[in-house]
Symmetry: C2
Subunit: 155 residues, 2 copies
C-alpha cells in the first residue's frame, strides 16, 4: 500500500495545532480502517479532486478536544459545541488539506480543494465510498482525542 500521501496531512495538522493553538499532539500508528464507525462528535470533511487525483479527508473530534483546541486558537474560553467551534472544525480541515496540498504537488499529486463540510450529531457515521484503503490516524492532545481519516490516491 502506498502511504506516501499520509505524512503531509499529519505534518500539516501537527504544525497548525502547534503554531496556532500552542498544542502538542501525539499521533498513534496509522491503520487501515475496516469499519465505518464514527469516532468523534463533530467531523470536518473535505473533498480533493484533480485530473489524476481523487480523495476525501475527515477529521473527527471529540467534543472536549475541539472545544479545547478552539479555545486555544481564539484565545477565548469556549464551553460548548456552538457555531464558532463547528466553524473552526471546517477551518482546520481546510488548513490541513491546504498545507498537505503544497507538499503533495511535489510528489506528483495535483489537486484542488472542494468546499469543506462539517457534520455534527452524536453517533454519526461517516463512510468513504472507495474501494481503496482508508487510513486512520488517532491523535491524543490536551482536551481529548481526535482522528484523521484519509482516502486519497492517483486515479
Amino acid at each position: 500500500m502506498n502511504v506516501e500521501f499520509i505524512n503531509p496531512f499529519l505534518n500539516a495538522l501537527v504544525n497548525i495545532l502547534k503554531t496556532m493553538a500552542n498544542i502538542e499532539v501525539t499521533s498513534g500508528s496509522p491503520c487501515i480502517k475496516t469499519d465505518s464507525k464514527s469516532m468523534g462528535d463533530v467531523t470536518g470533511i473535505i473533498g480533493m479532486a484533480g485530473e489524476k487525483t481523487r480523495g476525501s479527508l475527515a477529521i473527527s473530534f471529540s467534543e472536549s478536544a475541539i472545544i479545547h483546541i478552539t479555545s486555544r486558537m481564539l484565545g477565548e474560553k469556549m464551553t460548548k459545541l456552538d457555531d464558532t467551534v463547528i466553524d473552526m472544525v471546517g477551518e482546520i480541515t481546510n488548513m490541513v488539506t491546504g498545507g498537505a496540498k503544497k507538499e503533495l504537488v511535489k510528489q506528483g499529486y495535483k489537486f484542488e480543494l472542494a468546499i469543506p463540510m462539517m457534520v455534527t450529531g452524536k453517533g454519526h457515521i461517516v463512510t468513504h465510498k472507495t474501494t481503496g484503503p482508508i487510513v486512520v490516524i488517532p491523535f491524543k492532545a490536551e482536551g481529548g482525542e481526535f482522528f484523521v481519516e484519509v482516502c486519497f490516491g492517483k486515479k
Copy 2:
C-alpha cells in the same frame, strides 16, 4: 444570485431516478438555506474542485425514501438502512455530480469530483463552510422525501 448551476444537478437527479428506478419525482421551489438543520436520515456528500470552481453537494434522504429508491434500482426489496442502501446513496451522489459536470463544463465550470462520503445517524447536521449561498431543493417521490443542497461557484 447566480443559479445557472442548479438545474444541471436537478436534471441529472431526475433523469437517474426516472431511468434507473422508474421513479417520477416532483421538485419543490429552490430556496436559500438559512440554517444548518439536517433534513434527512442519510446524506450523500461530495466535493467538486477545479482551478476556478469549488463546490459541495449534499443529498439527504429520509430512510423510507432511500429504501424505496434502492429497492427499485436493484430490483430487490430492501427493508432497512443497511450497507447496500448506504452505498447506493454514495452511488447516486456520484452519478448526479457526474451528470451535472458534463452540462456545467459547457457553461465554463470545469471541475473534477472528489470521493463521495455518506453520513448516517438520526438528527445529524451537515454544514457547508462557505460565505456563498447554499441552495436547497426539496423533492417528493414515492416512498418519501429528500433534499438536495448545492453550494457551488466560480472562485
